[in-house]
């Protein structure tokens, strides 16, 4: 199930046949003022103290209200139980809970990797270093377009990027969701 999708937009120019194709990777924005959280009747989705919009899969009863109220439409619902036969089931990540039908799921910024890095840092008696945690999307992006880290640390790569002049947050000034994810504007030169 795609927790991160690439949204394709075709912008046409007025009075011209020219058009440009733009795209935007869209995943859970981990809103600080998340509309999905208060509507869940069973607290299956909540905000954790690190600012992550967390999801307790085995608490979800599947009212799907969170998805209705998500302005970014990034929550994905298990309409069926997906059974993966042996030996293909071995490719499934053992660090993540397997979701069954009737449960909502979403991008967690690979919470299992966060937990692992924090455990390791704790064992070594230090804080988590910037760049130590890499969500799967950031890891697989060849151009390193995705940065993840501690926004409260002014020296972290992600906090420098999100304070950049080019940074914007999707829909934030419309509906005040206060996303944790910032995007950087593309700079275009027209000759």
């Amino acid at each position: 199930m795609s927790w991160l999708r690439i949204e394709k937009y075709i912008d046409t120019e007025p009075h011209s046949e020219e058009f440009t194709v733009n795209f935007l990777p869209m995943m859970c924005q981990h809103c600080n003022n998340a509309p999905c959280e208060p509507v869940c009747p069973v607290y299956a989705t909540y905000h954790n103290e690190e600012g992550l919009n967390a999801m307790v899969y085995n608490r979800c009863v599947g009212t799907r209200y969170c998805s209705n109220n998500c302005s970014y439409k990034v929550r994905r619902f298990n309409w069926v139980t997906i059974d993966v036969p042996e030996p293909l089931s071995w490719q499934i990540n053992p660090d993540v809970t397997k979701r069954t039908m009737g449960v909502m799921e979403k991008c967690t910024f690979c919470v299992q990797r966060i937990a692992e890095a924090k455990d390791k840092a704790k064992d070594e008696g230090r804080l988590v270093r910037d760049g130590e945690i890499q969500p799967a999307c950031a890891q697989s992006c060849p151009t390193q377009a995705i940065a993840f880290g501690n926004l409260n640390d002014p020296e972290s790569r992600v906090s420098k990027l999100s304070n950049d002049k080019r940074a914007y947050k999707v829909l934030d000034h419309h509906i005040n969701t206060q996303p944790a994810v910032s995007y950087l504007n593309d700079i275009k030169y027209r000759l």
């Binding site: 509309p35 009212t63 209200y65 209705n68 302005s71 970014y72 619902f77």
Partner: protein, 475 residues
């Protein structure tokens, strides 16, 4: 003052007419040359409880078949997952929640007719209210199934209840869905209590006339020892007034809470402050329409023409006109607000509704709820019962479409254009909606054969009291 008056209404003293001539103002005296007598009321209503004809069995079988379709559909959905319902992103809610709101709306007018009109001393409610109350209770029973049916994991539905558990987890009291649980269950409790209390004196009438042993036992237990003595009436009347007053706020609260499922969210087309009054008016509108839809065939089948007179239909149609007006105004306000707010998402949504892919649903709703009922301004049409029946059928359809427009159209056209979409009805989805009608019809069908579907004692209150001792006049 009011206590004194109420007491008199229920104690059938023969001097009432002289003591309260004002009770008969406004055409309450039957207009026929020969008004009904107390005995005729008894015999007409009790005839409904006679052993059923093959047509009754046929209709019950039809309802049960529909319930079976619904049951099979639901079983399939539980086994195979919500994919059976044909839903997909972004339309997380569709036919189920539409039908849920539809039935909650139907459930509304029962309490309006029985409690609110009782407090307002509107006498036209007397022959109608029992059916309306039965409809209310059964419609809530139907509506209450849908929040379960639509759950992804229905086997954990009890997690929505605040029950003590070993994990010390409470439900989220900020969620409008939880408010729904409380609103609907409260409404079911109060409306069924009110319904059963209203039934007691009439069950006693049925008990006294019961012939079979089964019915003697059934009515003997359910009439709770009613003898019709003066002290019983005194307490009964006070209790009835109390329950009417208790049920009245629920007329407003239940559908307001249901509307908050939508109004509390941030979906364009849902997030609107007008929703509670708009939903309450719509609920009363659809509920009254459904009462008439049920009343017309029953009147014909059981020969209730002298009890359910055209003037009662006339009064109900006036309520339809009023609520249709409020509803039309609310539709207009939605569009005006979208335009006036200058919010591009709201504007896009309200452009999408009439001119989008399924604009037909919008125009169908407008025709059924706003335009066609306006013909009821003509008095001749208000008392033309086949015509009124057609209007109410259209209103039932229109009100289902209204909820469909609010729910599915809004979800299909939200903020992110990439996620615009639509969902298709599946057979399971439709089967469950059919099943809900069968379930409701089954309860109604059983009810009219087992309990007096028309209020015997209360109709007698609006008849001129017999001047001499009438035979069979006691109940």
């Amino acid at each position: 003052m009011s206590h004194h008056q109420t007491q008199h209404q229920h104690t059938e003293c023969t001097s009432c007419e002289d003591a309260h001539p004002s009770r008969f103002r406004g055409g309450i005296v039957p207009t026929e040359a020969k008004p009904l007598t107390y005995e005729e009321v008894n015999t007409t209503v009790l005839a409904m409880l006679e052993p059923p004809t093959y047509r009754w069995w046929l209709f019950l079988a039809l309802c049960l078949a529909a319930v079976a379709i619904g049951g099979v559909s639901w079983t399939r959905q539980i086994l195979n997952g919500m994919t059976e319902a044909g839903k997909s992103h972004p339309d997380m809610w569709g036919g189920y929640i539409t039908t849920f709101v539809f039935w909650v709306g139907i459930a509304h007018s029962g309490t309006l007719i029985s409690a609110v009109l009782y407090l307002f001393r509107a006498h036209f409610r007397m022959p109608i209210y029992r059916l309306a109350e039965a409809m209310t209770v059964f419609a809530v029973l139907t509506a209450g199934l849908f929040p379960l049916i639509h759950l992804g994991r229905v086997w954990y539905f009890y997690w929505l209840m605040p029950y003590p558990n070993e994990r010390a987890i409470w439900p989220n009291f900020r969620s409008p869905l939880l408010w729904d649980v409380f609103a609907v269950s409260t409404y079911l409790t109060i409306s069924s209590t009110f319904f059963i209390i209203g039934l007691i004196p009439d069950i006693a009438v049925a008990r006294d006339a019961a012939k079979t042993k089964f019915r003697k036992i059934l009515y003997g237990i359910t009439s709770l020892g009613w003898s019709g003595s003066h002290p019983q009436w005194k307490h009964y009347t006070a209790a009835y007034l109390f329950f009417a007053a208790l049920a009245t706020p629920l007329v407003v609260s239940v559908h307001s809470v249901v509307s908050w499922d939508f109004a509390m969210s941030i979906v364009p087309g849902w997030h609107a402050t007008i929703f509670p009054p708009y939903f309450v008016a719509g609920a009363i509108f659809s509920g009254i329409a459904m009462v008439i839809t049920i009343m017309v065939p029953l009147r014909k089948i059981f020969g209730l023409e002298r009890i359910l007179e055209p003037k009662h239909f006339d009064a109900m149609c006036k309520l339809i006109l009023l609520t249709s007006g409020i509803l039309t105004y609310s539709y207009g306000v939605e569009f005006y607000t979208a335009w006036f707010s200058n919010n591009e998402f709201e504007r896009a949504q309200f452009w999408f509704r009439p001119f989008g892919e399924v604009g037909a649903a919008f125009w169908g709703m407008t025709f059924c709820n706003c335009i066609f009922p306006q013909l009821l301004w003509i008095k001749k049409l208000r008392t033309n019962i086949p015509f009124v029946f057609c209007v109410t059928i259209l209103i039932n359809i229109g009100m289902w479409l209204e909820r469909f427009n609010i729910i599915v159209q809004s979800l299909s056209h939200e903020y992110i254009p990439y996620s615009w979409g639509w969902y298709n009805f599946s057979w399971v989805d439709i089967g469950i909606v059919i099943g809900s009608f069968g379930w409701f019809g089954m309860w109604m069908t059983l009810f009219v054969k087992f309990f007096p579907a028309v209020a015997i004692t209360e109709i007698k209150e609006i008849l001129p009291a017999p001047r001499r001792v009438a035979q069979g006049g006691n109940h």
